[in-house]
């Protein structure tokens, strides 16, 4: 069983701070990490690999420095890593990104399952996973919280919904986006870390993909960012710092006036 895991390297958003004077992002000391949701996809891929004696390949599209995310995935136990990287990809929106990743996956040959995190923590769009499955014309199940069974080319999974979950059956090959309920990602192993140091990473540039050049990067992206600005902050009211009995009294009065 060949399993493909798509990951993205993102800034650790909990570290992202705004400089209040210049209203710009403070970049110093912001670390790059694997999108936290993708960690669950990696773990699920490793579990499937172990269960079915398969091969897990991790794929990312990004700048050359995204290689470190791939090496981290290898240290967790992934077999192979592919970096899809080219200047021609710069400015890709979700349409161009999913097209590029789908083209890269086609290049990698037969596969049974593609796993993605439910969304990336920097963009939060949740569009790239479904985009890839559409470009590849394979079925998808999003928000998977459990893979119940895989046999005879059919998978049964649980898809999380607002009210609970659906049990969904799908033929393979297919794409799943996974939620954090599905597993607990493992920490890397020492042997994995050593392997990750020297592992060869396959590089796929635009030239190596069989794709149409005008569907890549900015050119292939229907959406354009026209403005970036700081969010308007809600204004604060009164802050009581005195004895708590007094503060509570004031707040209770306020609450009382708000409740009909």
């Amino acid at each position: 069983m060949n399993i493909i895991i798509c990951i993205k390297q993102v800034p650790d958003t909990t570290d992202v701070k705004i400089n209040p004077e210049t209203n710009t992002l403070v970049r110093e000391g912001v670390q790059s990490i694997i999108n936290p949701f993708d960690m669950y996809a990696i773990e699920e891929g490793l579990r499937l690999k172990e269960q079915f004696n398969g091969k897990a390949t991790v794929v990312t599209m990004g700048p050359p420095q995204a290689e470190s995310a791939l090496r981290e995935a290898i240290s967790m136990g992934v077999d192979e890593a592919v970096l899809v990287s080219d200047r021609a990809f710069a400015g890709s929106d979700t349409l161009a990104t999913s097209y590029t990743l789908a083209s890269a996956i086609k290049k990698l040959g037969e596969f049974s399952i593609i796993l993605c995190g439910k969304q990336a923590s920097d963009g939060d769009t949740a569009q790239v996973g479904p985009g890839i499955s559409t470009h590849l014309d394979i079925p998808q199940v999003t928000y998977v919280k459990k893979i119940e069974s895989i046999k005879n080319g059919v998978a049964v999974v649980e898809r999380m919904t607002e009210e609970g979950y659906d049990v969904v059956e799908t033929p393979l090959p297919c794409l799943f986006t996974v939620v954090k309920e599905i597993n607990e990602p493992r920490t890397p192993s020492l042997k994995g870390k050593m392997r990750a140091k020297s592992a060869k990473i396959q590089l796929l540039s635009a030239q190596l993909l069989d794709c149409e050049a005008d569907r890549l990067g900015l050119k292939g992206s229907p959406t354009q960012v026209v403005k970036i600005f700081s969010p308007e902050r809600r204004k604060g009211g009164e802050v009581y710092q005195g004895p708590i009995e007094e503060s509570v009294e004031k707040v209770v009065c306020a609450i009382k006036s708000l409740i009909p």
């Binding site: 920490t187 020492l190 042997k191 050593m194």
Partner: protein, 384 residues
């Protein structure tokens, strides 16, 4: 301080630090309360290859030495000195096999221990034989191709949860210390059972149990070293394991220091963080200096052992003595810095103080360590 660790040692340190912060710290208080054995953490450490750090590659390990065990123990202990014992006490149990095991024994036991599929334990202490190991009552009588063990051990770390035990029993009581022999026992052997589990002050996430031997038959192939070498096995094991206890103490102290510095910056009194007061600053400075000195002594000792040096007992004892006294001092001071919050269980300060205490007691009390050091000094003096 830069200890010029090699690439693999840095990797061990970083991975153990990550596991400590992400996986152990969040559950430390829970295990301290419930006293359950931390199997999920054992599984996690096993999967991360941590149990193999100091086992040779031919038995499935990563080929490190005492320093690697120390680095791992220190990092893990920063989050919880109790949980760490599933790892550290397993090394105490497998060290005698590493040191004295023959090829068959190593092949049989080490791979599973390196993979963390099984844990080991070392059993010397008995109710009447604590610091005085020569007072051991457990007997082993040779009968054909096996030995029959009778008696009991107590205060055995990993007792009941480990699969592989190295047990010291008397094969010839008349010879005193020279009549002791080390055996490898397996959980499930006929006549080998477990007694009560202790309710302890600290390190509550580790199990401390009695081992009971009732006509327990142990094949003669399971003798470690030779008959009568039990006391030597014990002493040589402690020589290499004491830096490990020292590292546990160091980790607990370093964890306490780190949290005290953090707290002192957050805690506001008289309108200022308490870290701005000289009284607190001097305490923190002393704590940091002691922690660093302990680390330097432990690492130097571990490196000396790993280089193959022979007379290491004195340094090994010094490392254990110094680091455990530092741990007690630093954790006590950390409680002081936390003030009232240090005394309540909601904050981890008091737990570190409880965990630290055992490091002054086990694997030879600090009084015994001083005796070892003094004896060695006098010996050296006599040699001139």
């Amino acid at each position: 301080m830069d200890y010029l660790l090699n690439e693999q040692q840095v990797m061990i340190r970083d991975l153990c630090r990550q596991i400590a912060q992400e996986k152990i710290a969040p559950v430390a208080a829970e295990y301290d309360k419930s006293e359950e054995f931390p199997w999920p953490i054992v599984k996690l450490l096993a999967q991360a290859d941590i149990f193999g750090v100091s086992i040779p590659a031919e038995y499935g390990g990563l080929g490190g030495g005492v320093l690697e065990t120390c680095i791992a123990t220190e990092e893990l202990s920063k989050a919880c000195g109790g949980i760490t014992l599933c790892f550290a006490a397993s090394y105490l149990g497998l060290d005698p096999i590493l040191l004295f095991g023959n090829e068959e024994q190593k092949k049989k036991y080490l791979p599973d221990l390196a993979a963390g599929k099984k844990l080991a334990a070392f059993a010397v202490t008995e109710p009447a034989a604590g610091s005085d190991a020569s007072a051991i009552q457990t007997t082993a009588k040779k009968k054909g191709d096996h030995y029959v063990l009778n008696g009991m051990k107590h205060f055995i770390t990993n007792g009941g949860d480990a699969d592989t035990y190295v047990v010291i029993a008397m094969t010839d009581k008349t010879k005193g210390a020279r009549g002791a022999t080390a055996f490898i026992l397996e959980k499930g052997m006929k006549g080998f059972t477990f007694g009560k589990k202790e309710d302890k002050l600290g390190i509550r996430a580790s199990s401390t149990r009695e081992l009971i031997f009732t006509d327990c038959e142990v094949p003669k192939e399971n003798v470690l070293g030779k008959e009568g070498m039990g006391f030597i096995v014990t002493m040589k094991t402690f020589d290499v394991s004491r830096p490990g206890v020292a590292s546990q103490a160091l980790g607990i102290a370093a964890g306490a220091l780190e949290s005290a510095v953090k707290y002192s910056k957050e805690r506001i009194q008289f309108g200022k963080p308490i870290s701005s007061f000289q009284g607190i600053q001097w305490m923190l400075a002393d704590m940091a200096t002691q922690v660093e000195a302990a680390r330097a002594l432990i690492y130097a000792t571990a490196r000396m052992i790993d280089s193959g040096a022979k007379d290491v007992s004195k340094y090994s004892a010094m490392a254990k003595l110094f680091a455990s006294d530092v741990a007690m001092k630093v954790t006590t001071d950390a409680v002081q810095i936390f003030g009232g919050y240090g005394y309540i269980k909601e904050y981890p300060a008091e737990k570190r103080m409880r965990d630290a205490k055992i490091t002054q007691i086990y694997e030879g009390t600090n009084q015994i360590q001083r005796s070892i050091i003094a004896l060695q000094l006098i010996k050296e003096m006599a040699k001139g």
